[in-house]
Symmetry: C2
Subunit: 491 residues, 2 copies
């Protein structure tokens, strides 16, 4: 359906594109107006629409299939880290939300509340989950009894809702899809090690190796950390406009929830102890990150690992020989294991179709036309570089395989170079403001402190994370004063 949609409705909404320069597929350029470019890519690549209730979102097949692949990559890593998936209820008694005071302060104004069910008023209103900390901890208190029950490692994939004042598709929506992991451990060190394992082996690895988005890792300042956490670890990436996007966070929760919910285990000596916990999440916001980290003025650029279609074979025009050769190439590439689509919709103009495939970010396009065919060739177009080359028909499968293998690494290298170009190490608040406005400033935390952080906020800047000067994570007991703050604007 996604592909059928690509050329749908000639003469209606899509027709607007034709009035603009074809070279840029009718998109606003990123330098001209990045937010507008983003909105146009989301709409024209048919990734998402606004839902009828304010702030909600419809994820269309092209967006959802990218999500399915991202989800599979993260899920595989979560399972490798030993956690098991489960499912907890959408509805949470309002009273649960009041059990952990600091946590509820973070969420109270964001709640959506159900007051009616089955045709009458409910005796007790229920909250539609903004996160599942409270309900999961309620069950952890039942399930954890002995040290043999630990560690308890649970993850769930679900929808959550929060009141959003300035919704934006994928980036900040009333309802979004995510995974939330919740774990309980016998001691602090084990909880800490697990929070870090998730940060690096799950999130960083999936972001960099699958989404091809390089990330900085570190921990949040007290001001920026999750309400109720004692430490929030984060992955931060730079988008195409130099702003930062938080890609996933992993929290050490200490014993706050354990005490509020009474989650205790008897240790080997029979003594009752409170557990130490972690929680961690990543969401459909990552789709927004993918668009903004890799997109160009022609639309999306997808790493093959996440592309719903890796290769599209396009018939340039209606012609029996063309159709025969294109079909044969399609079959050959499919046998080679690629996710492939034949585009034989020759009743839609060739230019129009190529603009659409570029918008959708399909990594490789093989164009089959009568002129090339007469030479025994097809034209291979690499989306991320927008380069074309003639390839002998018999060599297409090899050439496509080679190209697909280099797309991910090249996108990642390009994003990394862009980030490094826009990152500078500075020594003062004033320099951090100047650099952080267009990219990332690396500034010693002791040159900022909480006062400096407040001054950054006045400039719409924030500390994205604290890390060692060499980019590594702070060790246990390492003081923030010895660390570097990464300062930038954020989504």
């Amino acid at each position: 359906m996604a592909d059928a949609d690509a050329s749908s409705s000639p003469g209606t909404r899509e027709a607007r594109a034709d009035a603009r320069p074809a070279a840029a597929g009718g998109l606003t350029s990123r330098t001209e107006d990045f937010p507008r470019w983003y909105q146009e890519v989301v709409a024209r690549a048919e990734m998402a629409d606004n839902g009828p209730v304010r702030g909600t979102m419809v994820i269309r097949p092209w967006g959802y299939e990218i999500w399915e692949r991202l989800q599979a990559a993260i899920d595989e890593r979560i399972k490798a880290a030993g956690a098991h998936n489960a499912y907890f209820p959408l509805f949470i008694p309002e009273a649960f939300m009041r059990l952990e005071a600091e946590h509820v302060e973070g969420f109270d104004p964001e709640l959506w509340v159900v007051t009616h069910g089955g045709g009458r008023q409910l005796e007790e209103p229920v909250v539609v989950r903004p996160t599942s900390e409270t309900v999961i901890n309620h069950f952890f208190a039942k399930w954890v009894q002995s040290h043999r029950d630990l560690p308890l490692l649970v993850n769930q994939w679900c929808n959550v809702v929060r009141w959003e004042l300035r919704p934006r598709l994928f980036l900040r929506t009333t309802e979004f899809l995510w995974q939330e992991g919740h774990t309980a451990h016998a001691d602090e060190a084990d909880a800490r090690a697990y929070a870090l394992k998730i940060l690096t082996d799950v999130y960083r690895d999936a972001m960099e190796q699958v989404a091809a988005v390089p990330v900085l890792v570190g921990h949040k300042t007290a001001r920026e950390r999750f309400a109720g956490a004692v430490r929030t670890w984060t992955c931060e990436a730079m988008m195409g406009d130099g702003k930062a996007l938080q890609m996933g966070t992993s929290h050490e929760l200490g014993q706050n929830f354990a005490k509020a919910f009474g989650i205790q285990y008897s240790d080997a000596t029979g003594t009752l102890r409170h557990v130490w916990q972690t929680s961690w999440g990543a969401s459909t916001r990552l789709i927004g990150a993918l668009i903004m980290a890799h997109g160009d003025d022609f639309g999306l650029r997808l790493p093959p690992a996440l592309a719903p279609i890796e290769v599209v074979v396009v018939c340039v025009r209606e012609d029996d020989d063309v159709l025969r050769a294109a079909t044969q190439l399609t079959d050959e590439l499919r046998r080679a294991g690629s996710r492939i689509q034949l585009d034989d919709r020759t009743d839609t103009g060739f230019g129009r179709r190529t603009v659409d495939w570029e918008l959708k970010g399909v990594p490789v396009r093989v164009e089959v036309g009568p002129r090339d065919l007469a030479q025994g060739n097809a034209t291979l177009v690499t989306r991320h570089t927008r380069t074309k080359e003639p390839v002998a028909l018999g060599a297409v499968a090899d050439a496509v395989g080679r190209t697909l293998r280099r797309v991910g690494p090249e996108l990642r290298a390009e994003a990394l170079a862009f980030r490094e170009e826009r990152t500078a190490s500075v020594g003062s608040l004033a320099e951090a403001v100047a650099t952080g406005t267009a990219g990332f400033a690396r500034v010693p935390w002791r040159a900022l402190g909480e006062e400096g952080e407040l001054a950054l906020a006045a400039e719409a800047l924030s500390v994205r994370c604290l890390q060692r000067d060499d980019g590594e994570l702070a060790g246990p007991g390492e003081r923030d004063d010895a660390l570097v703050a990464v300062v930038g604007r954020s989504y």
Copy 2:
């Protein structure tokens, strides 16, 4: 975690089991009290718990991993049928629910309504989706313009909520997980063919080939069909107490929603026409079906295709040689591609652990103890037949592979034989009541009619489906009078 839980909390809840006859794992027998047996299996196999809000459910890892495998089997078949996954919002404006009169009559008393968000009363209350027909059709009206946009084939995996008066874990819960497919077609024949493709190639195939549950296919009577559908196709299975469970339904919706939501396309001649639609769904209720179709007095019996663990290698007691041999067997079986678990928790009694593995339905158990080992053997236990045989260590992998291959077909054959034993063809309403109370009665629809159907309802019986005498689906235009009604009690 699921496996660690299996032996958790000695001396607490689990200890109750020890007071009952060990041979039956402490479960109520199915013939004694089937509903109680079901509840006990769900709880003691750690599949699900009741949530804190009435009627909601926590799906624990053992239940959820079964669901993940069922979901993958269904999803794969849905994609093969050409549909694409997408995601539509949880919150639906109340006004949407009133656009299709017949449909809303079916749902009105079941709705959960959000009246507050962001700390104040909403201007317009929103409904938490009981199904997504209305919001999806709202978008179909935008997306469908031309005949080239058809067929539009969309599926979504999500949670839905309905007010439930008599909730029961998996079978009838306030919130459940499901997939709902929604499609739009250019003509009635195409819509009908697609509804049937989903019924047979997706649902029947996944139920029979993956879940090993044989199903009857047919269509619902007017009384039983989905509100708003012109025809509801269904898969019906017999549970271990002779009652029927509806496993999945596929609806032909005609043009009802198309007219209510204005979903029109211009055909090849430019004429505007309303689309023809289908919708279809299957839910976490299937986990309940799996329990009730295959379970025995010792707990679950899982077909390997759905088992989170296919083989458990159990160390009978603490012993270095035992541990070494068991670890070696585990590695060997893992290399052979099985989902395998080593149970070396020798601080928990052997009997207790085997009872737990039987409760959880793990298809094959390999017991390694010093006595067997002295003979160069292990003991292979087949869960569904509860048979034990000594196997030479070097032959275990082959024997396990052979056993795993026969579990699914044997469970399916057993369920089929049970259904046939409890099914009789009869000629009158009175006979249908007598037979249908303990199984399925096959009775000519013309011997019942709508009056007979009313009389069945008075006896807590219903027509599960109409089909041809040979078990095939009615053809287009085939009158119900020529068909057979399958009568039974239902969940």
